[in-house]
Amino acid sequence: MRAKRKQKLYAILGLVTLAAIAIGLTLYALRSNINLFFSPLQIAEGQAPLERQIRAGGMVKADSVARDPESLAVSFTVTDYVEDLEVRYRGILPDLFREGQGVVVMGKLQPEGWLSADKVLAKHDENYMPPEVAQALEDAGYSPEDYQDESALGAKD
């Protein structure tokens, strides 16, 4: 009886392990399809197709947002701190859109290297803060993003 149970336990563990390996290999093979977006570096390396609907993601570069005063057109630069990607968009941006914020843009990559976006999504990071704390940081000459970067580094130590 003991031996029978042990045999059953090994059979189940073996089955689960094999299934895990199969799923792991599948996910590994599909890794580029599972990524929700291309980074500016991947686009600069030519990994993203031209003139087809793609998503690109990164941080909105500081001082790069330029709005057309006559229309809803806006252009900004998305960066992964290695490569930059210029994005042009016409429409309403989400509330959380701001410089230094992560975004995911959906649109078509143009042969000249900029992306014509038809939707912009704001990416939220994992940090939460009351407004007074954010204000106090700003008054002290930091931006909340600096604080977050430092706290993120601190948490890993």
Partner: protein
């Protein structure tokens, strides 16, 4: 210790012991959820970027924790049932599944509601969101598979097996935000790391998470007790119990 576990593993012993724990467990669950809910929804400060919509975290995060923990618990119960033939483990697994499916739905729904104002979309096929949707389908599959068999034993074995294989999805959910580029942010709150928010925000969240776990235990014990009575209704101790109550 072994004698106690042995007693806990038999339906009759479990029924007696869980009956003693239940009132306290329900009390703890209600108290923690009330405290965490009122504190989080009314008194905790708003977020500097999201304003009040961040308060969905007080439902979303505990529900997502439970959705994953319940599946792991179901898989462990399935293993215990398959290898050691403990019927009680199968009863508990059967009783957990609907609550797990409900929690998965709550996590998906609250996330979608939060996504509209924050991200600008309620759904994206990103790795975290998709793996969570697969978890919901796995729950539905486990429940349906159990019901699809004529014999109770056959249904129990099939459901256990699906739960054990399906548990592979849990690490995928957990690490999806690290392995791939996703729209969903990494974890703000986990057991192992410092929370990415000040204490007046995460303390109510902690209260909600613990309250949800207590709620899960209380619901599972209560439902397993009624399942024991149903399945063992022909046993002498159950009849004696019914006579006593009459």
């Amino acid at each position: 210790m072994w004698a106690f576990l042995h007693k806990l593993g038999s339906p009759k012993g479990f029924y007696a012991i869980s009956g003693r724990w239940l009132p306290a467990l329900w009390g703890v669950a209600v108290a923690l959820i009330l405290v965490g809910g009122v504190w989080g929804l009314v008194f905790a400060p708003a977020d500097y970027q999201q304003g009040n919509s961040f308060r969905i975290i007080y439902v979303h995060v505990p529900a997502a924790f439970l959705a994953q923990s319940i599946f792991v618990a179901m898989a462990v119960a399935g293993l215990v049932f398959m290898v050691w033939k403990i019927k009680l483990a199968d009863m508990a697994a059967a009783m957990m599944a609907p609550l797990g499916a409900g929690m998965t739905f709550v996590a998906l729904f609250s996330g979608a509601v939060w996504g509209v104002p924050t991200w600008g979309t309620w759904w994206q096929w990103d790795a975290r969101l998709t793996s969570m949707l697969i978890l919901l389908f796995l729950y539905i599959g486990v429940i349906a598979l159990r019901g699809a068999f004529v014999s109770r034993d056959g249904g129990a074995r099939a459901a256990s097996l699906l739960a054990m294989v399906g548990v592979i999805n849990i690490p995928i959910i957990k690490f999806s935000v690290e392995w791939w580029y996703t729209l969903h942010q990494p974890a703000s709150f986990s057991i192992t790391e410092k929370p990415a928010m000040p204490a007046e925000m995460w303390l109510p969240l902690l209260s909600m998470v613990l309250g949800f776990y207590a709620f899960f235990l209380a619901v599972t014990l209560t439902r397993t007790r009624s399942e024991i009575l149903r399945r063992e209704s022909s046993k002498r101790w159950v009849r004696a119990l019914v006579e006593e109550r009459r």
